[in-house]
Amino acid sequence: MTQEKAQAYWRENISTILKLLVVWFLVSYGAGILFINQLNAIEISGVKLGFWFAQQGSIYVFVILIYVYVKMMNRIDEKYDVHE
């Protein structure tokens, strides 16, 4: 594998990770902590939205994030021909 190709692969890897971590931060620290009071003004079937993100919602998003990551990385691995 050439030096440039390895660097391009690594850059694409890093940018994928960063995008997903932004979502990770927003649902947990954003919705569940920093903006919990604002989101708590919205209520669905008696459950305040900020409270829901902190106690249940962020967990669903975490699971989805890892699956999206696995899919995206498998595609990138194949694109750069580094898959096993």
């Binding site: 008696g46 699971v63 990385m73």
Partner: protein
């Protein structure tokens, strides 16, 4: 069948299953022993990781903790799941490509330093022992409550079971036993949760139960909450009536933030979790495996918020204003005809985990905010086994009424009993209670075994193989494969004995040391591994100074504020000791970066190693030495 027979049957069958699996999956080589041969399917590995991760704390204590803390409890739910996102994205694939057996392996090789390796070994052993002591205690509590044997006998039985399958099977035995334990644990958690959900609300899925309406009217002691109220409204209203803060009202957000970071990063830095990703065949399996693990964990964790809310409503409904004597002997009938029997209350009183202090002398139980017992921590001091004529256990605390609004609290409830007592509080069938006993034991044993393995591997592989008996000429261990395997088994035996001792004679601060485990993992392992992968320029001097800064700062802060009576007013930036690992991690990153830039870059072969772990192809099998 009566309850006791059912409990023996369920627990006995589950133990027989674990031992059967251990015999079938006996470890033949060090590779089998440390990383289960490196060929575990990602789904099986995900299940094993979930069982390894979800300890007695998750199974027994978590819902009780959330139930008590309300909104702020979200820190634990997010913290103990969100760490898996970090693991999957930032650690697991690269550590798998690196392809060795342990975390100290990575630290020692990447930073070409036996000092770093030794520090990593010590931190691993310390973190793992604090954890394992808690598990053995959990085993003891379940045994003493459900099998009516002494706590110490319970711990010894637990030690023998773990001994059989951890020493014999190593990681291979543990992994396949954990798959079985996950199954037992999840069924044991979900079935009572479904029952409760159907009883308190009309939702079958407990996850959706928090969105549902209550199925019964109940009095919180101040006013009647009608059936058909949204569950969360019923909870908020009744708790404010009783003088608590609203269940959904957030507290100190800054501390919640710091605690969540420390728990997430700590999760991603715990050696017994990281090592699971060495056991799968390929890099892509390591990524997928983290996803499966989190999915299996989420099945339990997404029900916790509901179980916590159900149990709080249920507790108020069952105990508020019942006559102690009638309730615990013959039971009472609710206005709407529901049965309410309080025999469970007396059982837990015997275990000193519940207590009643009839402050106003009316013979009825009142539950509200505030301490039930006049003691610095609000704890009951039981007067031996003496009981009052109505059957409740006597204490030596003062009984005087305090005149608090709306009325004095008279009940002491240890938060740890919520999950274990839930099925009894709700009058669920006996087999559900038996299931809970088997589930609690599965949770504690699976985690204990995983931790013991990590301890034994860091002693035999890292300390003996790589530091003490290392041949400086070849860089290889002077121990033969066979003697290292024997050393690993002996180390596991020693670790079990120490863990058992700690379980029988728990240091008075088991709960507080958990903050230690997470804080230290967050401040030491996580940054060192991240920098080792993502910063090619990171060198020995940077890593060693970073690890030491993180460890010493976090250790010192916790010791000062938790064990030496440091004053809350002196908290640095107002950070509680439980969240201080976050600041330790930040300091670690800064110190490591600055020091590494002021010193020589790492040698070429280390830079090549970093290049190679970034590319998935060629992971092959986990290789020895």
């Amino acid at each position: 069948m009566d309850l006791q027979t059912l409990i023996y049957l369920f627990v006995g069958l589950s133990f027989a299953l674990y031992i059967g699996i251990a015999i079938w999956a006996k470890a033949a080589s060090t590779k089998d022993f440390y990383v289960a041969g490196g060929g575990v399917h990602p789904i099986a590995n995900g299940m094993a990781t979930a069982a390894d991760w979800m300890s007695a704390a998750s199974f027994i204590s978590l819902a009780g903790l959330i139930s008590y803390k309300g909104s702020d409890g979200g820190a634990y739910l997010m913290g103990w799941t969100g760490g898996y996102v970090l693991l999957a994205l930032l650690l697991a694939p690269y550590l798998r490509k690196f392809g060795k057996f342990t975390v100290p392996d990575f630290i020692g090789d990447r930073y070409y330093s036996n000092l770093a390796r030794t520090v990593a070994v010590i931190a691993t052993i310390f973190v793992s022992f604090t954890y394992v002591a808690g598990q053995m205690r959990g085993v003891g509590i379940v045994f003493s409550r459900f099998l009516q044997v002494d706590v110490n006998t319970g711990v010894i039985i637990g030690m023998v079971i773990v001994f059989i399958y951890a020493v014999l099977g190593g990681m291979k035995g543990i992994t396949y036993t954990q798959v079985a334990q996950y199954t037992v644990m999840i069924i044991a958690y979900l079935i009572p949760a479904i029952f409760l959900s159907l009883m308190v609300t009309d939702s079958f899925l407990p996850q959706l139960g928090i969105f549902a309406k209550t199925t019964f009217a109940f009095s919180d002691g101040v006013k009647e909450i009608p059936a058909g109220t949204y569950l969360m409204h019923a909870l908020d209203t009744s708790l404010t009536d009783l003088g608590f803060k609203e269940y959904t009202q957030p507290g100190n957000l800054w501390n919640m933030f710091m605690l969540t970071v420390a728990l997430m990063v700590g999760t991603a830095g715990l050696p017994h979790v990281i090592v699971r990703f060495f056991t799968v065949p390929r890099v892509k399996d390591a990524r997928a495996s983290a996803g499966w693990a989190l999915l299996f964990i989420a099945i339990l964790y997404t029900t916790v918020a509901s179980v916590a809310a159900f149990s709080r409503v249920n507790t108020i409904d069952r105990i508020q204003n019942v006559n102690y004597k009638t309730w615990t002997t013959e039971g009472v009938k609710k206005a709407d005809g529901r049965e309410n029997h309080g025999a469970w209350f007396q059982t837990w009183e015997k275990g000193s985990l519940l207590a009643w202090n009839d402050r106003n002398g009316d013979g009825k139980i009142q539950y509200a905010a505030g301490k039930a017992f006049d003691d610095k921590k609000g704890k009951p001091h039981f007067d031996g086994t003496k009981t009052a004529p109505d059957g409740h256990r006597l204490t030596t605390n003062a009984i005087a009424a305090k005149g608090t609004k709306p009325f004095d609290n008279e009940v002491y409830i240890d938060r740890d009993i919520i999950v274990l007592a839930n099925p009894e509080i709700a009058n669920l069938p006996n087999w559900v209670i038996a299931l809970i006993a088997a589930g609690g034991l599965a949770a504690a044993l699976s985690t204990a075994a995983g931790l013991l393995l990590v301890i034994s591997a860091s002693i035999s592989h890292d300390l003996l193989g790589k530091v003490i008996f290392n041949d400086p000429k070849t860089g290889k261990s002077k121990l033969s494969e066979k003697s290292e395997l024997m050393a690993a088994r002996l180390a596991a035996v020693a670790a079990i004995v120490v863990a058992g001792y700690l379980g029988i004679n728990p240091p008075g601060f088991v709960a507080q040391v958990v903050a230690f485990a997470f804080g230290l993992a967050a401040a030491s392992f996580f940054p060192a591994i991240i920098l080792g992968i993502f910063d090619k320029r990171m060198n020995k001097a940077g890593a060693v100074s970073g690890i030491l800064t993180g460890l010493i700062f976090t250790f010192g802060y916790i010791v000062y504020f938790v064990f030496m009576g440091g004053d809350k007013a002196d908290y640095l930036f107002g950070i509680a000791p439980t969240g201080i690992g976050t600041l330790g991690m930040v300091l670690h990153f800064i110190v490591a970066y600055v020091v590494s830039r002021m010193t020589e870059p790492p040698p070429q072969h280390i830079q090549d190693l970093v290049e190679s772990i970034r590319i998935p192809r060629g992971a092959g099998e986990a290789h020895d030495h």
